[in-house]
Symmetry: none
Subunit: 405 residues, 2 copies
């Protein structure tokens, strides 16, 4: 997709009022079946969610498109009402968000992998033996010390984890038309950042020089003796959430990646809680001053990634128990959903449709308990794209004008 015609249409209809919308993301909450015993949501005891479902609308959402598993970036952009294949930010920026590196508009970011090359300069290990975080930090310190950046350009090098690092160039007039250097296979030399269509980029020439310096600096290292760079990207200049939806947004999120995607669309970060109880309490507080609150709960995803079904069930039950404090703030519309599913059986994000609960005025009655993947299938929301949820919530909150006369 090359433009976001749906989002542009809805944005053109947006009007301001004082109704308050809360988007509670139980990250990765959806699941597939577990050995015939059902999903985590089906197995969890969730009296508050079920009571809420009784008078709410239910449905399923498609994060990006059928069969497509989203990363956290695209998953949240969809939830924020941005077509994720159009508002597709480079990996460099997502890496920066993930470690809470504060990017500016003068920055170009890239994801780095340490790798191993042989005497001929051919890559023999694209991950440098998966070196430790400590080794990563040691080597970056050496590079920082010896590197000579060109005049007017600051270079930042930050550890992400293991063999992964972040490169940020800061300066005036930098561009991100820079070739990825990862040859994507061993036995080949790293690619040139200035090749083909990138030959015209002054920044690509800077990167070429820096990589040559790094290679010389690391020549005697036994494992991490070279770097591969990909996903060069500038901090995107997108319409902010406030402009797009005429909402006054606040983010309540305890983990860097989610604060990062919130900042990508210009949301103010008002609190950084991590527990279900604190998240609901902070979201309730934020609703006093904002017409939109994004609240993020990480542990339903983390337990899924860990393949720990009992822990995922426990985390769902924690959020269920915390819900009354959020409900007490009485948001006009409350969306409870996720950016994607994280089935413990897959230990990873998945492509499955995501359960959605929407408490709102003007419903066709309540869809009834329980709140789970199978029951959501027959709910009044139907199966829609994640990017359609904010517009739907805005409609129920009286925040969208009629289209046409």
């Amino acid at each position: 997709m090359t433009h976001d015609s749906y989002g542009d249409l809805v944005s053109s209809l947006a009007i301001e009022n004082d109704k308050r919308i809360c988007l509670l993301v139980m990250d990765g909450v959806g699941d597939c079946d577990n050995d015939g015993k059902g999903t985590a949501l089906q197995q969890a005891r969730t009296p508050n969610l079920d009571t809420l479902a009784a008078t709410s609308a239910l449905g399923l959402s498609i994060p990006v498109d059928v069969g497509v598993t989203p990363g956290s970036g695209p998953g949240h952009l969809g939830l924020f009402g941005y077509e994720p294949t159009v508002y597709n930010v480079g990996r460099g920026v997502l890496s920066a968000l993930g470690i809470e590196f504060d990017l500016t508009p003068r920055d170009v970011a890239a994801r780095l992998n340490f790798c191993t090359i042989d005497a001929d300069g051919h890559v023999t290990d694209r991950r440098a033996g998966r070196i430790s975080d400590a080794e990563n930090k040691r080597i970056l310190a050496i590079i920082r010390q010896k590197l000579s950046p060109p005049a007017g350009v600051e270079v930042f090098l930050e550890t992400v984890a293991e063999y992964r690092a972040l490169l940020v160039l800061r300066g005036d007039g930098l561009d991100d038309n820079i070739g990825e250097t990862d040859p994507q296979a061993v036995g080949r030399p790293p690619l040139s950042p200035t090749r083909d269509a990138h030959a015209d980029s002054p920044t690509a020439k800077i990167v070429e020089d820096l990589i040559a310096q790094v290679r010389a600096i690391l020549a005697d290292e036994p494992q991490a003796n070279m770097i591969l760079a990909r996903g060069f990207a500038k901090f995107p200049n997108w319409p902010t959430f406030a402009e797009r939806w005429k909402l006054n947004p606040a983010a309540v999120a305890g983990y860097p990646m989610y604060r990062g995607v919130a900042r990508l669309v210009g949301m103010e970060i008002v609190a950084q809680p991590t527990t279900a109880a604190d998240i609901c309490a902070e979201a309730a507080k934020a609703l006093a001053h904002h017409t939109f609150v994004f609240a993020h709960f990480k542990y339903t995803d983390k337990t899924g990634e860990d393949g720990d079904l009992p822990a995922k069930i426990t985390r769902i039950e924690e959020m269920d128990a915390a819900l009354p404090s959020l409900l007490a703030a009485d948001p006009d519309v409350l969306l409870i959903t996720a950016d994607h599913c994280t089935p413990p059986s897959l230990k990873a994000h998945s492509w499955h449709t995501v359960p959605v609960l929407m408490k709102a005025p003007h419903l066709r009655g309540g869809d009834g308990a329980p709140f789970d993947e199978v029951h959501c299938r027959s709910g009044q929301i139907g199966t829609i794209y994640a990017k359609q949820l904010i517009p739907l919530a805005m409609a129920h909150a009286g925040k969208l004008e009629k289209f046409g006369a």
Copy 2:
């Protein structure tokens, strides 16, 4: 639609693994109601399909778009994961596929109709009285004998059926910017292939000359004294199925049209069985050497086209009985569906949504028996586009990488 952004996105995420996907097409299997007695699937006794449904995902697919009835070409291209309004091949090529004429990249094909013109050259019958196949062959033989093609161009003329024939020009540098000559109404002369935007086409001039020759050759014929040509097209240069999905595909199809659409996307034809039992046996064999097998069963469509509901029910039951031999090969993902519905009450293809059954890992439990149009409506797949089925199957087979970080 002008480009296939969904297909391109999913293709960019495709990775290879050894999981095997089987697509069993029961051509035209879907139906609408028959005199209050239900669809053919509802009336058929299908114990194996029903047992499979109990542990599979069900849903409905839209072949092209709501209300649009597909021909066999677009119907199958959708199933192969190609947006059929973008990957839209000319009628000339489909006619060639239908009679298994082996097109090369140097060929331009067109569909011919014999017609009748009067002394003024006006068309009086666009189908030449629906002449017989034998008459068609007799006349083509005369044309072949007397026609003088230009140097460097071979001309092929082949009987399709009744008044329909295939024209193929073979040579270097031929183009398909050639005007259709059918005036679409009687009382008018045939149109010129070189008119308007087609004036610049050297191949249109060749066609103009050939048609003039044919007119002279057939001048004394009482019925078929002229030809009308449409759907000029070259064999398309599309991404192959193997490139697009990183699958190693095999086709098991007994009828020329379906082998033809399989060849359009570069599939290898490994067997040409026509009975349900042979199709399932050959598909099972092919799964030993291929990561994707397309198996095509024609008779559920043919009996629909014949308006023969009892025969359609029998054919469904034949495939049901044959299924265990395919299941014994244990494909990792098995899709059972159709390219479109062919209701016996319509005696034709239709626009109705098509039942889908998918046996796969990572489901939300089984959707339960029976496998029919009404029960499929509430299945976990929902109602999706046919082009989304291969991506969904690939997701369940672990063949798609995450989108974004």
